[in-house]
Symmetry: C2
Subunit: 339 residues, 2 copies
């Protein structure tokens, strides 16, 4: 199946580049409320699934034992920009469990946001594993192990007790088998499993509604989503899509990006979960896609709809600040009748 073109990049009046993709919105029962393109194709959720991967942290009692509030739980669900607040928060999470940066197995990388990278380089520092966008998630993994008395070393490996708990959570929430046939290694070295896009949407509808989840899991799911929505800076950072989108409607919409053009969302008040994947892996397209879907979901609230549409349909400027084009969702997407 060839997915439709959902986002176009214009230079002047001419389309310069095109992004294909698929979109699915489900309710807590997994009923498809809306879809475009192939929603059965196995898709690596990558970092989009971090909130589900953080369930054992809450369910195990580790989050309570270490006194984690919204900011720490948001960090456990985050792909953060490695800004000073993120780095210090990750260090603090580890310290509460008697650990430090040396326990992290995610590797180090320079911050991906250019202003953050430049500030770090100018300061004369080098990035550590605390700057890794996944450091909050990994700190959460380590805290879970520590609280449960499980060996921390090797927590990131396939088959470790921690990754078995994470896999069980992902299977139960998304309803998709997580098999070795569709297992790969993520950027931060943990296993990642490709699942049908519709299951990813269903997983986030379930995170929001708790449908068919055990009561403790449903409660933990909602607590994590509420934390992310309450502290969106700690889910991403300055000028990042996840942060800006969640700030548009505090407490009412959850979103999370994943590498290679994935984005998920949930609208708890409507009990909906959303998953989008840009075929070619482009973040710029996935951002336009999730914002457009949210705009249609909130079509009865003109101000919020307009903010979301403006986010999705953006002018692009060159090095001299001259507007040279726009990145725009196509009619196939903007005319979606979702809500």
């Amino acid at each position: 199946m060839t997915n439709p073109v959902l986002v176009e990049v214009f230079r002047g009046e001419t389309v310069e580049s095109r992004h294909r993709g698929s979109v699915v919105v489900t309710d807590g029962d997994g009923k498809i409320v809306y879809s475009l393109g192939d929603i059965e194709r196995p898709t690596f959720p990558r970092s989009a699934i971090k909130a589900i991967q953080a369930l054992p942290l809450v369910e195990s009692g580790a989050a309570d034992a270490y006194g984690f509030g919204n900011e720490e739980l948001a960090m456990a669900c985050a792909s953060h920009s490695g800004e000073p607040q993120h780095v210090s928060r990750a260090a603090d999470m580890l310290a509460r469990a008697g650990l430090d940066v040396s326990a992290l197995e995610c590797g180090a990388h320079w911050p991906t946001q250019q202003p953050v990278l430049i500030a770090l380089a100018k300061s004369g520092q080098e990035p550590t594993a605390l700057h890794n966008n996944c450091s909050g998630k990994h700190a959460g993994f380590l805290c879970t192990c520590r609280h449960l008395g499980v060996e921390t070393r090797g927590y990131s490996a396939l088959g470790s007790p921690e990754q078995d708990m994470v896999r069980e959570a992902m299977e139960s929430v998304t309803g998709a088998p997580h098999t070795l046939d569709y297992c790969g290694t993520d950027g931060c070295s943990i296993p990642t499993y490709a699942i049908p896009l519709k299951n990813l949407a269903h997983g986030f509808a379930r995170m929001a509604t708790g449908t068919d989840l055990a009561p403790a899991r449903a409660k933990a799911a909602r607590r994590l989503m509420d934390a992310a929505m309450a502290a969106p800076f700690y889910v991403a950072g300055t000028h990042r899509a996840c942060t800006e989108l969640m700030e548009m409607a505090p407490g009412r919409l959850f979103v999370k990006t994943g590498a290679e053009g994935v984005f998920v969302g949930a609208v708890p008040e409507l009990g909906l979960g959303i998953a989008v994947k840009c075929d070619d892996g482009a973040t710029r397209a996935a951002e336009a896609m999730i914002a457009t879907v949210l705009a249609r979901i909130f079509r009865n609230e003109a101000e919020l709809e307009s903010k979301l549409d403006r986010f999705a349909d953006r002018e692009m400027r060159n090095w001299n600040g001259i507007t040279y084009g726009v990145i725009s969702p196509t009619e196939e997407l903007t005319e979606a009748g979702i809500n």
Copy 2:
């Protein structure tokens, strides 16, 4: 027309992302030697066309008047990384015409290659217009104006004498009309025109062969291509695709990248021009596409073919250096019978 998938990104054994695109190879007469996908679609060549944009610099006599050798001419055709050698060379080109950085109208940006950016930030410097990847091209424009006694200010604007000369060169070499209907503004603020992909390939076949070009233009074209092939570091930089590909067969193959997934090439000894465009604008895919096409063109030279194929089909590593997947051209592309 839906273009075929030409490059796949695997994570483990599963395809994570897919890139569609089109490819065309022509001879100097414009005869299509090989093609895949839509080769009529208007395509902005972006920086891929810089060697053609540099023709007035040579034809006007400016390059000789200012004593430009291979490195300066390569810089005029370059999208360089803003490494110290690029910056000093651009400054020197301007100085020979009695100008300095303040004459550049391309704007400033931080180097796009992370190690170069980090080194600059650590040094406490800020990027200037000399660091702009287009500074060599703009220095060439300014030298042309200066040599011809044309007002330098405004040289980058649509309708300026310099941009009229550049447009005339692009029209004559590619054989495609350059009209306002398909005109946009490039990253460095000069006009850019979308033309059919086949004309872009034909343009580079003509640059290599001189077919149907006036003798002075044919000579200037070959001088620019020879300069780029002789000084490939000045066309791009450390670990950049253009530099590495041209270094594989010194003097025998020319390549140049353009933003939004464009790549052009030429093989002078065979009189062939090549143009590829990845639909979604991804550089990683355009690099795999051009290298694969070149590998097929050089299929009778096992060592060179193998180097090109290895460049096209690359392992990807995560922050811990673990190989997690590959980016691979599809069979549709690797089985191309070009030569």
